[in-house]
């Protein structure tokens, strides 16, 4: 048995409304089939099933608003024991080993469509406002309908949804990354550059600054990415409904790993319009608030591109997984001393590895390569940043 759960369709999504079932109990589904439509802040999204099997039971009625992770349906996977066949029909004609009847159309009047949960319009709205999950509430209104009073009572006793935040974050990451690798045809281009000009610039700039005002090279990377993207809009975009949609602003999301194993990607809005010092301030602010767990949901959903830097981890490069629905992720390794050829001589230079993971639906490797070259050019002239 497998559960079909309310998916997280974006890291900011905590709950969604099941709008439509496209299947009925008993229907056979295969992995990848779209079986439901879910309403999120971003619109109605078709949701596919991850396992093949037979819909055993629909647990949530259409129109129900439930938290992410709530089981919506039970699916008997292939190989699961079939439920006992119904008692032998009086008509001897039916052979006992007959296949179950083909799934009936959802629109046929006899289809076992789930009964919509009875809840008054006003109670439904109140539940949404108070964040009450009413899927398991017992109603006291006419016909057992859930009323405003029922929701109020539930809101009074419902514990804050703090249970195992860490697990839920891991699950959210898992869903986003799984979706990315399933849907996005990634391509990768990698490049290396001498980082000495940048590091020298930082050293000079920071020499007469107090620690709180010093620049770190991560700010240079974000600033350079934001500027480079101005000429590569297809890398600062979304792939939606079989079409490329350019994002109106350049909001650079920066991957920040948390001490408990979590990962958040708060965005720096309109990063192309910030000075280097402003970028540094934003970077410092996001990191501090991420560590304190005080990021705003909007910051987690507004990124239009992601930068990940494994700076302190001592790796040469990182080829990342694009964060849907974005179309690009820029990865930086650790700048480290490496043999580097200057004017025909091998010298030791700090070398930075950078990688672009691109959505091949949105752009081609040719453009990706040009982007990394543009990035190199910007980072080689740090004073211009």
């Amino acid at each position: 048995m497998a559960e079909f759960v309310m998916p997280s369709l974006g890291s900011d999504m905590t709950a969604g409304t099941l709008v439509l079932w496209r299947v009925a109990p008993g229907q056979v589904v295969k992995r990848g089939d779209i079986i439901a439509e879910v309403d999120t802040d971003k619109g109605v999204i078709e949701v596919e099933v991850f396992v093949s099997g037979r819909i055993e039971k629909l647990l949530v009625g259409e129109g129900t608003h439930v938290p992410v992770g709530t089981a919506l349906a039970v699916i008997a996977e292939e190989g699961d024991p079939r439920p006992q066949p119904p008692p032998a029909a009086p008509r001897a004609a039916a052979p006992p080993e007959a296949e179950p009847a083909p799934a009936r159309s959802l629109h046929s009047p006899t289809a076992g469509a789930p009964m919509r949960q009875r809840i008054s319009p006003s109670a439904r709205r109140m539940a949404r406002e108070l964040g009450v999950d009413f899927s398991h509430l017992a109603g006291t209104g006419p016909g057992g309908a859930i009323t405003r009073d029922d929701v109020k009572r539930a809101a009074a006793v419902e514990p804050p949804a703090e249970a195992d935040a860490r697990t839920r974050m891991r699950q959210a990451i898992a869903r986003a990354m799984t979706r990315s690798n399933r849907e996005i045809p990634h391509y990768y281009v990698a490049h290396r550059m001498s980082f000495s000009a940048a590091l020298e610039f930082l050293e000079r700039t920071n020499a007469d600054r107090i620690p709180a005002e010093r620049l770190v090279y991560g700010a240079l990377l974000i600033r350079a990415v934001a500027l480079a993207l101005c000429d590569f809009p297809e890398l600062n975009a979304r792939w939606e409904n079989d079409a490329l949609v350019m994002s109106p602003g350049i909001h650079v999301g920066m991957a920040i790993s948390l001490r408990d194993g979590g990962l958040v990607v708060p965005a720096i809005l309109d990063a192309d319009r910030l000075s280097l010092d402003q970028t540094m301030g934003a970077l410092r602010d996001r990191v501090e608030r991420a560590r304190r767990g005080q990021l705003r949901a909007s910051e987690l959903s507004q990124g239009t591109v992601t930068v990940t830097s494994l700076g302190e981890r001592g790796v040469e490069s990182v080829a990342g997984v694009i964060y849907p629905p974005q179309t690009a992720l820029v990865g930086f390794g650790t700048p480290a001393l490496r043999p580097w050829v200057v004017d025909g001589q091998v010298v030791a230079k700090p070398v930075l590895g950078m990688t672009l993971a691109g959505d091949h639906r949105a752009s081609n490797g040719h453009r990706g390569a040009a982007f990394l070259n543009a990035l190199e050019k910007l980072l080689s002239q740090p004073r211009e940043l």
Binding site: S120, P121, S122, A123, R125, G139, T140, G141, P142, R148
Partner: protein, 326 residues
Amino acid sequence: MTRSTYREAIRLALATALEADSRVLLMGEDVGRYGGAYAVSKGLLERFGPERIRDTPLSESGFLGAGIGAALGGLRPIVEIMTVNFSLLALDQVVNNAATLRHMSGGQLGVPLVVRMATGGGRQLAAQHSHSLEGWYAHVPGIKVLAPATVQDAHDMLLAALADADPVFIFEHQLLYPTEGDLDPARGPATIGQALVRREGSDVSLVTYGGSLGKALAASDELAQAGISAEVLELRTLRPLDVEAIEATVTKTHRLVIIDEGWKTGSFSAEIAALVAERVFYELDAPIARVCSAEVPIPYAKHLEDAALPQVPAIVVAAKELLGRG
């Protein structure tokens, strides 16, 4: 402030209008020598003479048409029709003339006509004298439809109707004529298009008009004994309808029972229910309930007539069901 019956209050308003404005006249079947089928105009013939208190032949289309003509000619006629059932004979005059002339003349012609008629059942007058068809009239743009339920409104709404430049229809429930209440004759014309909360409540709204107001108030008394606080909203005017007042009471109590003596199908109660669903759907905490007349010609036999009309116990049951206490 005096005590008065509903009938006397209308008579007082008629007399006041006849006294104050020589253009005002009353006409209809038996309004003169007989004093009106419901004795509303008793004594007015003697006081104001046959020129202004005119008995008409049994021809609704004819005398309502005459009223329209008189209004066009500059008079302020009040036409009494014995019951709403009979008014159907004059429906062409209402829909095609009274309601349309201002529009069709490009605003050059107004029809300042007042039409009064009895409506409703409960007095064993059988199927041709007992129906509630005011909802049909409320369907028609170009006229106003009033349904006074109190002694004060019976008086003040007639004055308001006379002051209006367009045709106004007043529906007087026949059970109301002998009812008594306080009357302040000096309060002035009522505001057309204004509903009033007759009793404040918080759990359920009873929305009604005309002859059902008393039943709604009695039901709210009974509900109060069961610990249910019912608000009673009296519409008073069916056209123009006080939609804001309906929205307000539903937004307050989140539950709605509509009491309408008309039949349910295609009725005025259906209009209210539709408006609420359109405008304040998300305020509803229970389905909308309607208490209406049974879908039969109103019977003559007392027990059958009682069973056919909306009654207090049915209102109480409907309200309790909305609270899950059915």
